[in-house]
């Protein structure tokens, strides 16, 4: 099980277990970048540990619904994420939580009212191994630095009208290190990597929308109403379409939809703000 708990695991240590769970994740300094979407993954994984422990490692949540994700500040290799999640409800069907990731006490990303549907843990992973990992990260923590970054996952742009819409195809890799961790018994393309690609595609539309002033640039600041409606297996492909939904003053909203044939498999609304370029 090479890569298990290292290729796509983003909680090194749980400092306070329970419904107001706290944890830490040290971003390895040797990687080239750490997308903010992975800070969201870290928050979700922290909440998932509480959910799995509460259900005695019989159930685990998977990515589902994220009504609000605030993208506050970029994070960098070498930084330590301070993770906090408040479990709002937890039962055999779903976990609901809000969470924040901070660096040096300053929030870098916030999640509000996220919902993760529960699935049978044993269908996705070895419950005993997961339980042992939980005990490790609750008692001293895992050795940080195992994550080696994510491989480039390209979007193939297939068309669109400048500043209005863009379409693309996402080819989920047939093999990637993260599948060994997400998940060993049933590899699934992580929802947060999906989110990362959604941001990239939305950014492509925004780049061609004129900014209100010359010295400004569009910056993705919020993801609203994000939902994943299907698992994405290795080797699959999805058709994406991003379109400008609304532009008002210094804000614009780009709606992104992913389809597999006629079925909508995921959607999000990305809110950009016109900000001074750093």
């Amino acid at each position: 099980m090479d890569g298990h708990f290292s290729a796509f695991s983003f909680v090194d240590r749980i400092t306070r277990p329970g419904l107001h769970v706290r944890g830490l994740y040290q971003i390895p300094s040797g990687i080239s970048e750490f997308p903010l979407a992975l800070a969201a993954e870290a928050c979700g994984q922290l909440a998932a540990w509480t959910a799995m422990a509460t259900h005695e490692f019989k159930l685990r949540p998977v990515a589902g619904i994220a009504p609000v994700i605030e993208l506050l500040t970029r994070v960098h290799p070498g930084q330590t994420l301070e993770l906090e999640a408040e479990i709002e409800s937890l039962d055999a069907e779903a976990v609901s939580y809000s969470a924040v990731a901070k660096v040096h006490g300053m929030p870098v990303l916030r999640l509000e009212n996220c919902v993760g549907p529960m699935v049978a843990l044993e269908d996705f992973d070895d419950p005993q191994a997961v339980k042992q990992r939980f005990e490790l990260i609750c008692n001293g923590g895992a050795v940080p630095g195992a994550f080696r970054g994510v491989p480039p996952i390209g979007l193939k742009f297939t068309g669109g009208e400048k500043g209005k819409n863009v379409s693309a195809i996402l080819h989920v890799p047939a093999q990637a290190d993260f599948f060994a961790d997400h998940f060993p018994r049933r590899p699934v393309f992580p929802g947060t990597l999906f989110m990362h690609k959604v941001l990239e595609l939305a950014g492509r539309v925004a780049d061609d929308v004129p900014v209100p002033q010359k010295n400004l640039a569009w910056v993705a600041r919020r993801i609203n109403d994000s939902k994943l409606r299907a698992f994405m297996p290795p080797g699959g492909s999805l058709e994406f379409e991003a379109r400008l939904a609304k532009q008002e003053g210094d804000a614009l909203t780009i709606q992104v939809e992913a389809r597999k044939g006629n079925k909508v498999t995921g959607h999000s609304k990305i809110v950009f703000r016109a900000e001074e370029q750093a």
Partner: protein, 145 residues
């Protein structure tokens, strides 16, 4: 379980907000959310969407909705064995469903009906009634189910 006490006026009072919540969850126009449209058959909802709708209703109406227990509520006093056998709803079960889901047109209750097909019956009005029941339970001090 007092469906019978839920009037059309009660439903009409919250339907606009419920329809808006359903439309937001399904990414459709609110005009498409007709009171007795099947959320699955007519609006393409899936199980994750029901979860989404329930959580949005909870936040929107400040109630706690018993997730995964709609069918259990519908079953009422019938035992699981009386309600269904091998995934197929019994005649008594279908009769109970018709009573509980009185907003659903009678011709949508198939015979035989598989338990897994019950969510196909759910409409916007079904969720209105769900909210009203929980509001009443909360007001009566019974707390969430």
């Amino acid at each position: 379980m007092s469906n019978e006490n839920i009037t059309q006026e009660d439903i009409a009072a919250i339907l606009p907000k419920v329809a808006e919540i359903i439309a937001d969850a399904l990414g459709c126009d609110v005009e498409e959310v007709k009171p007795n449209a099947s959320l699955i058959n007519d609006l393409g909802a899936e199980s994750i969407d029901f979860l989404d709708i329930i959580f949005r209703l909870e936040r929107g109406f400040k109630v706690k909705i018993p997730r995964g227990k709609i069918v259990e509520q519908a079953r009422g006093s019938l035992s699981e064995a009386e309600f269904e056998t091998a995934g197929v709803v019994s005649d008594a079960g279908v009769a109970r469903l018709k009573e509980y889901l009185s907003e659903v047109p009678a011709d949508r209750f198939k015979t035989p009906m598989k338990s897994a097909e019950i969510p196909k019956l759910f409409t916007a009005e079904t969720f209105c009634k769900l909210v009203i029941r929980q509001q009443r339970a909360g007001a009566a001090g019974a707390g969430p189910a």
